[in-house]
Symmetry: C2
Subunit: 338 residues, 2 copies
C-alpha cells in the first residue's frame, strides 16, 4: 500500500510531519510490511528532516519524496488553495490518489483547503450530497464520533441522514462495534424536541431505518457516551468541538490558580500532577490521530495542525485501516441502497 | 420589598427551597432590612419545614406563606401547566407580581412552565419579540453570560439582537461592567463565517450599534472570557450548556479511574482532593444562584431544580438587586429606542 503524507500540512511542517512519517515507515520496516509512505513537498527540506530523524536508510523502499515547491498555508482561503496553488503538496498527493498511484492521503494542514481540494480532485462518492468531517470526543465508554464539525452548515435532514449512515459504517468497521448507536443531537430526548432541522431529521431517521437510531441525545450525552455516533449540523458541532478543546486549558489555568493560593495547595498539586496529566491525556484529541473526510471518493485523513509525530503516525495507520477495510466501498453500497 | 419564592419548584421541594428562603429571611432580619419572603405552596408542609429550619420566629415579618394545594411538577408540559394548574404555586406567585402585590418571583421549578406562566400572567416588555433565558459559564475573566440557552430555537437576527441588548443591560447593571463586550457565537472570527443566521445577525449587530459588539467569537471563547455576553440561538446554547454541565462529572469519573490504576495514584489523588474540589466548585453553576427571564414584564428568576439552600438564597438576592437596579425599566427604554 502507498500512503501519501502532505509534507507541508501542519503548523510547523515539515517538522513533526516528516518525523511522524519516518516513525510509520520504521514500523513498516520492522514488521516487514510492504507499505510505503510518500511525502509531498520541497525535497531538500524534507530530506534534511529525514536525515535528522535517522531515516535515510528507509528511502527508496519504505519512504519516498515527491517534490514540489508549492504548498497551501494553514490560513489560506480554500478559493486561493484551489485556484492559485494547483501544484501544492496537497494537490499533488490527491492527484496521485485520483490516478490510482496511491491508496490514501493524510494531511495535518488547512482543513477547508483539504476538503476543497479533495472535492475538486477526487469528487464525492456516488449519491453523497455533502461529504462530512467528524471529531472524536472521549466518553465514559471510550469515544463518541461527532459529525459534522464545521464543514457543513445550514444542513437539510437528508444531509444529516447521510452523515449518520457514513459515521455508523466508519465506527462499525474501525472499532468493531456491531450496531453502532446513532444519536441525533437535540435539546430534549422526546422526538418533538429541538429546532426545525432536528425535528424533521428525527422523523426521517425513524422512517428510513438505515442504522441503529437511538433517538435524540443532549449535550451531556456526548461525554456520557450514550451513543457511538452523534449527528448534528456543522455549526453546532464546531461550537461544541471548540468549547471541548478549550476545557483542558481552562482547567489547567484553574489548577495553577488554586496552587498559588497556598503553599499547601502548591504541594498537593505538585504531588498530583502526574495523575492529573493522565486525565488530561485522555482528553487529548491527538490520541485519535485523525479523522476521515467521509463521502469523498478516496481515502483522505485530516488531523490537527499541531499534531505530534505520534499523532501523524496514528493517522497513517487510520488511513491504512480505512483502505484495508474498504470503508468507502461499503459507504457507496449503502448510499445507493438508501 | 416583597419577593415570592415558588415553594414547590425544585427537585425535592419544599426541601432546600424553604431552607433557602429561611436563610434569606434571617439575613434580612440580621441586617434589619425591610424585606419579606413569601413562599407559595401547601401551608402545612411549608410550616413544617420552616419549623425544622428554626425559622418560626421569622413568620409574620420576614417570612410569609400563601397557601395553595396545587403545584406544577418538574417534568409537566407547559401546556398542562397553563391549562390544568391555574392555582399552582407558580401561578399564584406570578399573579401577585402582576397585581403589584410583590416585586419579584423566584423559582427553581420547571423552566418551560415558568416561562409559559410568566408570558401568560406578566406578558412581555413592550417591543420585546421573544423573552430569553441565559446561563453563566465560568471564564478566565470571571464569567460569561450565554443567551439563549434553550427557550428560543430557529431564531431570526432581530431576536438575537434583542437578546444581546438585554444581556448587555443585565451584565452592565449586575456586575458593574461599563461597556460589556458582546460576542456572537459562530464558527470563525471573520464576519462572513457561520451559518445563515449568524452571518445576517453579525451584519445587523454592526449596523445597529446598540452595544459594544466584539464580533464573532468561537466555542473556545466562552471559557476564555473573550466576551462578557455571548449570543446564540437557543439550540446551540442548550447543547453547549448541557455539554459544559457534564464536564465536571466526566472528569471526576476519570480521576477515579486514574486513582484506581495504582496505590501511588490513589494516594496522590487523595492528597490533591481538596484542591481538586476547589476547581470543581468554581465550575459549579449553582454559584450564580439563578438567571433572569429577560424580556418578561416583571422580575422573574429561575434556577436549577437541584439548587441548594445557598443557591436559592443567592437567587433571592439576584432578584432583589434586579428590582433595585430597575433593570426591566432600562430594557424597556432601550428596546423602544432600538
Amino acid at each position: 500500500m502507498k500512503i501519501i503524507v502532505d509534507g507541508m500540512g501542519g503548523d510547523e511542517a515539515p517538522l513533526h510531519i516528516v518525523d511522524g512519517a519516518v516513525l510509520a515507515a520504521k514500523e513498516f520496516q520492522d514488521k516487514n510490511e510492504p507499505h510505503q509512505i510518500v511525502i509531498t513537498g520541497p525535497k531538500e527540506k524534507i530530506l534534511g528532516r529525514i536525515h535528522h530523524c535517522h531515516g535515510d536508510a528507509l528511502l527508496g523502499k519504505y519512504l519516498e519524496i515527491v517534490h514540489t515547491d508549492e504548498w497551501i498555508e494553514m490560513h489560506e482561503s480554500p478559493v486561493s488553495a484551489l485556484t492559485k496553488k494547483t501544484k501544492s503538496s496537497m494537490h499533488l498527493g490527491m492527484e496521485m490518489v485520483k490516478r490510482g498511484e496511491a491508496d490514501a492521503f493524510v494531511s495535518m494542514g488547512n482543513t477547508g483547503a483539504v476538503m476543497a481540494v479533495a472535492l475538486m480532485r477526487l469528487g464525492r462518492i456516488e449519491g453523497v450530497a455533502r461529504p462530512t468531517i467528524g471529531a472524536f470526543f472521549p466518553s465514559m465508554n471510550g469515544r463518541t464520533l461527532i459529525l459534522d464539525i464545521g464543514t457543513n452548515v445550514d444542513c437539510k435532514p437528508n444531509h444529516l441522514l447521510q452523515f449518520a449512515l457514513m459515521g455508523s459504517v466508519y465506527v462499525h468497521a474501525m472499532y468493531n462495534i456491531e450496531n453502532p448507536k446513532v444519536g441525533l443531537l437535540s435539546i430534549g430526548e422526546e422526538e418533538n424536541k429541538g429546532d426545525d432541522l432536528t425535528v424533521k431529521s428525527n422523523e426521517l431517521f425513524r422512517e428510513k431505518k438505515l442504522f441503529d437510531f437511538a433517538g435524540n441525545v443532549e449535550g451531556r450525552d456526548i461525554l456520557n457516551g450514550t451513543a457511538d455516533v452523534v449527528i448534528c449540523d456543522g455549526f453546532v458541532g464546531n461550537v461544541v468541538l471548540k468549547f471541548g478543546e478549550s476545557v483542558a486549558g481552562f482547567l489547567k489555568s484553574r489548577f495553577r490558580s488554586v496552587a498559588q493560593k497556598s503553599f499547601k495547595n502548591k504541594l498537593m498539586m505538585l504531588l498530583a500532577k502526574p495523575a492529573l496529566m493522565g486525565v488530561f491525556k485522555d482528553m487529548d484529541y491527538q490520541e485519535y490521530g485523525g479523522v476521515p473526510l467521509l463521502g469523498v471518493n478516496g481515502v483522505v485523513i485530516i488531523g490537527h495542525g499541531s499534531s505530534s509525530p505520534k499523532a501523524l503516525n496514528k493517522a497513517i495507520h487510520v488511513a491504512k485501516e480505512m483502505v484495508e477495510k474498504k470503508i468507502n466501498e461499503v459507504i457507496r453500497e449503502k448510499i445507493i441502497l438508501s
